[in-house]
Every structure is written in C-alpha cells, then in structure tokens.
C-alpha cells in the first residue's frame, strides 16, 4: 500500500490517526470512572446525589458512544484510505468539531447540571422539573449537533470517495457482484464494503438526529412550539440505535485487515459475504423499533417487524462474520500477540453480545425486561468486549507496525484482566436484569445492590487495564515512525 505515499507523509497521517485513537481511548477511560461511580452508588458503597448520578449517567452514555464512534472512525479512515482517496481536511475538521462539541456537552452537563440522559427524549430537555435550565439544555443539544456535523461531513466524504472509485454506493456494497454482473475476484474488499455500509446508515442516522436535535432546541427556546412525542421517540431511537451500532461495523474493519496478515490467509469478499453486509445495512436501518416494543400505540406491524428483523440481523454476524473469523484462525499457526488477541476477543464479544440482544428483542421477553439492567448487560458486552476491544486491537497493531515498541508481560496481564472485568461487568448487569432491576436508577433497593457493587469493583480492574493499554499507546506516540524495515511490513506481523 505504501508505494503511493512517501514515508514522511505517512508519518504525518498516522499522527492524526493516533490523535483520534488517543482522544477516544482517554475519553473512554474517563467515562469508565463515571460508570464505576454509578455502580458503587447503586451498590450502596458511595453516597451520590441524584443530580450527580444522572449527570454522570448522561455524560457516561453520551461520552462512551461519542468517543468510541470517534476512535472507530479513525480506524475506518486508516484502512479505507488505502482503497479510495479521502480528504485529509475533512478528517481534521471532524476532529476540531468533535472537540468543540465535547467541550459544550461537558459544560452543559457539569456547569449547568443538564441531565436528560443521552436519549434526550422529547420533551424532557425543556421539562426538567427545574433541575436544569435553558442554557444547559442548549449547550448539550447544540454540542451534540456540532458533533453530528463533524461526523456527517466525514461520512459525506467517505461516500463521495467510494462513489468516485466504485461508481455508486450499491457497487461499494458489491451489488453488481451479487447480481452476477461482476466476478467475485473483482468484488470490493471487506474494508470498502464495511465503510459503505457505515456511510449509508450513518448519513441516515445523523440526518434523523439533526432533525430531532433541532426540534428539541426549538422546543427548549420556545415551548409554545410542540411536536409529536411518538415521532420524536422514533427519530431519537433511529438516530441512537444506528449510530451506536455503526461503531462495531467500523471497528470490525481492523479484524478484516489484520487477521489475514497474522494468519497469512486471505479474507476476501465473496457473494455470501456481500449479501450478509447488504442484510446488515438494511436491518440496521430498520430494527430500531425494538427500542419501542413497549409503546403499544405504535403500529403493530412495526413492532413485529422490530422483533423479526432483530432476529434476522443476528444472522450476518453469526453465520458470516464471526464464522469467518473462526475459520481464518482455526489451525492457522497464528502467532498470538496483543493486537491479534484483542481482535479475536472482540469477535467473541460481538458474538456473545448478540445473544442477550436477540433474547430481549423478543416482544414477550421485552415486556418484562425492557429498561431493566438486562439492556446495559447486552450492550456492555457487545460494546466493551466487542467494539472497544477492536479499538484497542488497532492501537496495538498501529504501535507494532509503526514503531519498534515491544509489548511486555504487563500488557498481557492487562488483556486478561480487561477481558475478565468486562465479562464481570456485563454479567452483573444481566443478572440484575434477570432479577428485574430497573436501569437508570440512582439508588437501589437492598436486594438489587449486590450485583451493582460487584460490577463497580470489576469496573476498577477494567479501568486499570485500560490505563495500561493507553500507556502503551502513548509510549508508541513518543517513538512513532521508528519502525525498521519497510514502513508497512507484513512480514513483521506474520
């Protein structure tokens, strides 16, 4: 890949990628602290005022999704630039807008006590029962809008670049290969397919998100303008569900790119692979209604569709992506290290995380599990053990190919600790859900406290492991570009 760019330019570009990842990782670590504090408060160990708890809740959800999406966009950009011509200016702009948006959100939440949780369900931003004022709400909502603008620009750019190279987004998904017009050997590579999918779903999500954010802003400024709360809920969850989901679809690119290098086995797009990704694209756009299964005023067909398509959305990952990862590793003689280990664990996290999600998407189950801690149980597994592990895998990979930095036994311990800790955190959420503990509750009844306390303690270990990952990455940044041999050496990882 490096034949087109000289080494200096590559170094500069990797610098920006590193900025994306370090910002993302540090924000994720800080958000873990808020998560730990919340669990300890629920576990009865810590006395936290309700106002503080819900501020932490708001910043934890917003910050985790924002930071993980941001870092994942960095991962996607790093690999996608080998196939299409991306705009560096836009990449920088997204970073600038991200930082502005984050600062606004932080000021809104902590200085102006804004605590609507990330869902900002209309009309909560305007009707806080005097907990926060107009300024806090506007800082948060406008901050989110600024974040959204940055991401939207980024995805417009990836869309433009993919269309320029491949002709259309349909061809980026390999539809001409599916229909048989083009041979499988000419199919777009997995990175391009995944990026196309993410471009399609996130442009949709961000447009819906902008609409509902501006709507809330209008309502906060002038409460005389009212809107339909059910439509607002639909748009909010369409935005939130799709955007949060896109993180793992960006993150998986690192798995597609590095496992073949570690195993010396190809991972190419074939027809079934492409069909799976087209399915993922469609379903990801449609299944947000599984967040609204307890709104019986919704058209029934939409809710039934929510269940059926949520089941179907498990198929591409269970049958194609995870299976592919297993096949490529099976009897490959792979040399395990931090990057390959985390990449493989992330596929495990994604796959097990799908299970409680599908269970909860069943309407009769959702009737007694919706908005219990079962839901965070599912997505902590899916995001913490899946998506975020992908980000860490990439960080170790980048450090490996772009410097001479070696990993130590400490990193390996951190990997094991991280894995066990996030399984514990997710597990305690699932147990809490199974005993009907509601999510987003500042305090718990005594019978609900045990799992939360356990989770808080496990969270501390997870945080420590994450700090070790970050320290390694910072060490890499300091010695960046010291890699001997060619600047992108496949032999080095093999």
């Amino acid at each position: 890949m490096s034949s087109l760019v000289n080494k200096g330019e590559l170094k500069q570009r990797n610098g920006q990628i590193a900025s994306y990842l370090i910002i993302g990782a540090v924000v994720i670590a800080v958000m873990m602290v808020f998560g730990i504090l919340m669990l300890l408060a629920q576990g009865g160990m810590l006395n936290l005022s309700a106002a503080n708890f819900y501020q932490f809740l708001t910043i934890h959800g917003t910050g985790m999704i924002g930071a993980a999406a941001f870092a994942a966009a960095g991962v996607m950009w790093y690999f996608l630039r080998d196939y299409v011509q991306l705009s560096k200016k836009i990449f920088t702009w997204n970073l600038v807008l991200f930082l502005i948006g984050v600062v606004m959100v932080i000021i809104g939440v902590f200085s102006f006590e804004y605590a609507s949780s990330w869902t900002f369900l209309y009309p909560l931003p305007a009707l806080s029962a005097n907990a926060w004022g107009t300024v806090g709400a506007l800082l948060y909502l406008v901050g989110m809008l600024v974040l959204g603008v940055g991401f939207l620009l980024l995805y417009i750019d990836t869309g433009r670049a993919i269309i320029k190279k491949y002709g259309s987004l349909g061809k980026g998904l390999g539809w001409d290969v599916i229909s048989g017009k083009k041979a499988e050997k000419d199919a777009p590579p997995p990175t391009v397919v995944a990026s196309t999918m993410v471009t399609i779903v996130n442009v949709t999500a961000l447009t819906a998100g902008a609409t509902v954010l501006i709507m809330n802003i209008i309502n906060v400024v002038n409460p005389a303008f009212t809107f339909d709360p059910l439509l607002a809920k639909n748009l909010t969850y369409a935005f939130g569900h799709i955007f949060a989901n896109s993180i793992i679809y960006m993150g998986v690119i690192v798995v597609y790119e590095i496992l073949p290098r570690y195993t010396n086995r190809p991972w190419k797009s074939n027809r079934i692979f492409l069909i799976a990704w087209t399915m993922s694209t469609t379903f990801t756009l449609l299944i947000y209604t599984h967040h609204m299964l307890m709104d019986s005023v919704m058209p029934k067909w939409m809710l039934i569709m929510g269940q059926a398509l949520s089941y179907a959305n498990g198929l591409p990952v269970l049958v194609i992506t995870a299976y592919g990862a297993l096949m490529i590793v099976y009897k490959s003689g792979i040399k395990w290290d931090m990057a390959s280990g985390l990449a493989f664990i992330s596929m495990f996290g994604w796959t097990v995380g799908v299970v409680p999600a599908i269970v909860d998407a069943t309407i009769v189950v959702n009737h007694v599990m919706h908005n219990t801690k079962w839901v965070p149980g599912h997505f902590h597994m899916y995001m913490g053990l899946g998506a975020v592990a992908m980000l860490f895998a990439f960080m170790y990979y980048l450090a490996k190919v772009d410097s001479n930095l070696e990993t130590t036994i400490l990193d390996k311990i951190a990997l094991i600790v991280y894995t066990l800790a996030i399984i514990s955190v997710s597990g305690q959420f699932l147990v809490s859900g199974a005993i009907s503990t509601p999510r987003r509750w500042a305090t718990h009844f005594p019978e609900w406290m045990g799992p939360a306390l356990f989770g808080g303690i496990a969270g501390v270990f997870m945080f420590l492991a994450t700090v070790i990952f970050i320290v390694h990455f910072i060490s890499y940044i300091q010695v960046r570009g010291t890699s001997t041999g060619s600047d992108f050496d496949d032999k080095k990882v093999a």
Partner: protein, 191 residues
C-alpha cells in the same frame, strides 16, 4: 450564443421580478400560505439566480474577493432561508411593510449569491447543504402538520397543515433523489 443566453437570463430575471411585483399576483400568491412559502419565495430566489448568471460574470473578481470558495455566500443563503422558514416571518411580511420589502430584497440577493457559490462549492459542501435542507424541510413539515395551535394570525390552522404536507412532499422527493443519486452508477461523470 452564450452571451445572448446570458443577457436573456438577465432579462427573464427582471421580467419575473416585475411579474411578482404586480399587485394582483402578489396578493394572490400571498393569500394562500402554501403558495406564499413554496411558490413566491422560491421564485424570488430564482430571480436572483437568473440575474446572477450575468452579474457574477461581469463582476467575477468582486465576488471572488470575498466568496472565493463559496462558503460565505452559502452561509448567508442558509441563514436567510432559515429566517424565512420561521413561521412568524410569513405572517409579518403581510402586516409589516418593511418585512415585505426585506423579503423582496433579501431573496433575490441570496439567489444571486447561491448561483455564485454553488458552482464554487466542493461536492462535500454541496452534499452537506443538501442534507441540511433535507432535515430542515422534514422538521418544518413536522412542525406545521403537528402544531395544534394556529401559529400565524393571517393563515388558518388548516392552511398550516397543507403547507406542512407540501414540505413533507419536498422532503420525500429530496430523499428519493438522494437515493437514486448514490445508488445509480456515477462512473461516467467521474470520467
């Protein structure tokens, strides 16, 4: 040939402007809310666009000096059009003479700026503006259809609803256009 076409555009712009100024036409278009926002206002922008074809040509350096990448002009266009999407402004245009005057001046001016900016804008900027208007029109449609109260003094609640459906139609059309644009083959254009 091109020159002739250019002067024609100036002429047709001025004629259109004149037609829109005719009291009878003006009153007719403003009497119905949906005609006011979705016919009169866009036509006033079109006046500026047509005139702009000639004007920007003759004063290109002047325009380039402050609007070289098209972003300042576009921002002004976005701000003015957003102002005219606020429900109250249409109302005020009917009752306050200087708001009406502002309408007849501001919209042709931004039409002109749009012509100058659009050709300079990069494709990312164009796509962004397009998506911005898509969500704005969707939001306005939602506001007008859903509003339980009569927002304007001069127009009835039923008229607000019709306007809302009109805006929703535009949004739907924009979505369809977008979908066909990204899913049909663009390779020929790229070459």
């Amino acid at each position: 040939m091109i020159k002739k076409w250019r002067s024609n555009s100036l002429l047709s712009g001025l004629i259109l402007f004149g037609v829109l100024l005719i009291p009878f036409i003006r009153q007719f278009l403003e009497s119905v809310m949906v005609l006011h926002m979705l016919v009169q206002l866009p036509l006033l922008v079109l006046v500026g666009w047509l005139i702009g074809i000639t004007i920007t040509r003759n004063f290109q350096s002047h325009f380039d000096s402050w609007n070289s990448n098209g972003i300042p002009g576009t921002l002004l266009f976005v701000m003015i059009t957003m102002y005219w999407m606020i429900p109250r402004t249409l109302d005020e245009a009917l009752s306050i003479w200087y708001i009406e005057l502002f309408k007849y001046v501001s919209l042709p001016v931004i039409g002109l700026l749009l012509y100058d900016s659009w050709k300079k804008l990069q494709s990312i900027g164009k796509s962004f503006i397009y998506l911005n208007y898509l969500s704005m029109f969707g939001l306005m449609a939602w506001l007008y259809i859903d509003s339980p109260i009569q927002i304007c003094n001069n127009y009835l609640a039923a008229e607000q609803k019709i306007l809302g459906w009109g805006l929703l139609g535009i949004t739907a059309f924009m979505v369809l256009y977008l979908v066909q644009a990204v899913f049909t083959d663009q390779t020929e254009e790229a070459i």
